[in-house]
Amino acid sequence: MQIRLLLVFAAQKLLRLGRLLMAVAVFTFVLLSFSPIDPVKAYIGADMMQISADQQALIAERWGLDQPMWSRFLDWLGQLLQGNLGTSLVFNQPVSEVIASRFQASLQMLAIAWLLSGLLGLALGLIAGALEGHWIDRLIRLYAYTLASSPTFWVALLLLIVFAVSFKIAPICCAAPPGVLSQNVTFWQHLHHLLLPAVALSIIGIANIALHTRQKLIDVLHSDYVLFARAQGESLWNIVRYHGFRNILLPAITLQFASLSELFGGSVLVEQVFAYPGLGEATVQAALRSDIPLLVGIVFFSALFVYTGNTLADLSYPIIDPRIRLGGQ
């Protein structure tokens, strides 16, 4: 029974993913087709003068640019379905390989930032919500609202100025000390370079999660069952412990997984500031140097990433809330 439910759930989710990726494909293709950017010019860049019109036409033909739009789309879709995302012009490597290696570098940073922002955001939100109206709540809200309106890249810049330039306790850039080959990087060097970007990334997530957790806890504290718990003589902190925590966990987890989308976007900016060679930095490279295959690959990958987060959230619901059954309403 349980296994059947799980299979139905997986089938539904896969079907929806297929539909979503199809939509993203149509959207991306239409957008890029109407784009004024000439992919050939973009590829060749400054050397355009040295290349004859014939050669340009040859390149265009090899890329299938002379075909009508719908046939190019079907052709492109066929390639995608076979898992062929094309070759990155910037890195001169298959797009899938670039994404795989870059994402590996980003993943650790994303994971640390995700955990940090989730735990700290939850803690701050619980404290602020339980002490609604108290000066501690005001302080936490001020902090969270200020962070929420701070530009991500500026926060990263500040951290860099404070910890790397002034205190010199963090490296100023990159994923490894200069001149060290990637296979020779020790675990500590690795962590040393990872930590500041991860903290910068987490700071942005904290605000959102803290504010939502606070609101949810306030809703719970105004519920009938908390009124009854108070009538039984339960203290505020025990109400938070026995009822608050249990009842905000579900929205908190939803939010935590939904924050993956924001986190991915944030990593683009943070990696840019720290010159950290992850997927976010590759996104900027792809856009700045007109690497269409890589950019499209990253768009697909980010959609998959966000979707995976949402699916994980769906899977966690029945574990936390006995009223929710998998695949049901």
Binding site: F34, S35, S149, W154, Q272, L295, I298, S302
Partner: protein, 292 residues
């Protein structure tokens, strides 16, 4: 023995609290005026400041913040406060334009989805879903890149990606108003759709739209700054606030911290002012949902 519980007494603290509570309306109005003046001041500042302080003064290079130069000077001896004001003014104007277009799109699609329903509604919801399935910044980069980058790219990208939440709010508002008793009554009385829209929809939607628009500004401005910062937005010849911050990165290791810190603080203040303005407007329209 009996006691009187909690009889109202007029201690100084209590009087102070009552005074503050009675003055919440005035405070809200004051905040709205103050926030508007501050933001308008930034936007029009370049016309008052002119080009003064923007020329190269080699003797005044890399000065830390002082009374003469509140934000310090850069590597060419230009006054950073003036540069930041020019840059922020530009960024605010770009952001406001993009956000306003976005609000128009959001209102139009929200009204269409709520009024027509059926397949129109389905298509609009589908577009919103697709937009939410991609990280916002990735979507911005993709659109800005596809339309060719530059100022036009930023405006189009920001305008095309910030309408979704407003469209949802408007759609919900239309659906709610449509199913209300007084609209049903108007229908039975034979009023035209246009009459109903003018008399019942507009009064409900306009406050939502106004608050939604103002709360859209900070997002739009931050995203404009982010795009310019990574180099996809405004060109380096137009020193928007994102460009100024990106430039400061190159001078970071030399210890000229003010180049990055001060313009960022100004940007933060502007964004907070918009948030503040929006929240105060909302609490004026609807005290119950305000953040107090």
């Amino acid at each position: 023995m009996t006691i009187t519980v909690n009889s109202p007494q007029k201690s100084p603290q209590k009087l102070w609290r009552i005074w503050r509570q009675n003055n919440r309306r005035q405070q809200t109005l004051g905040a709205i005026v103050l926030g508007t003046l501050f933001l308008l001041g930034i936007i029009v500042s370049p016309w008052f400041l002119g080009e003064s302080g923007l020329s190269t003064v080699l003797t005044q290079r890399n000065q830390p913040p002082s009374l003469a130069h509140l934000f310090g000077t850069d590597w060419l001896g230009r006054d950073m406060l003036r540069r930041s004001l020019h840059g922020l003014s530009l960024s605010l104007r770009v952001g406001l334009l993009a956000a306003s277009v976005s609000a128009l799109i959001g209102t139009g699609l929200g009204l269409a989805a709520g009024t027509f329903g059926g397949w129109v509604d389905a298509v609009i919801i589908w577009i919103v879903d697709v937009f939410f399935s991609l990280p916002h910044l990735v979507l911005l980069i993709l659109i800005a890149f596809a339309v060719g980058g530059g100022t036009k790219g930023v405006i189009i990208a920001v305008a095309l990606t910030h309408w979704t939440s407003l469209a949802r709010v408007i759609r919900a508002e239309v659906l709610q108003t449509n199913s209300s008793d007084y609209v049903h009554l108007s229908r039975h009385l034979g009023k035209s759709s246009l009459w109903i829209a003018r008399h019942h929809m507009v009064p409900h939607i306009v406050p939502q739209l106004l608050v939604g628009l103002i709360l859209l500004f900070p997002h739009a401005i931050l995203h404009e700054a982010a795009l310019s910062f990574i180099g996809i937005g405004l060109s380096p010849h137009l020193p928007a606030i994102g460009i100024i911050l990106a430039e400061s990165m190159r001078h970071l290791s030399t210890g000229y911290w003010w180049l990055g810190v001060m313009p960022g603080i100004l940007l933060l203040l502007a964004v907070k002012a918009f948030d503040w303005l929006g929240e105060n407007l909302r609490s004026l329209f609807d005290p119950k949902t305000s953040q107090g």
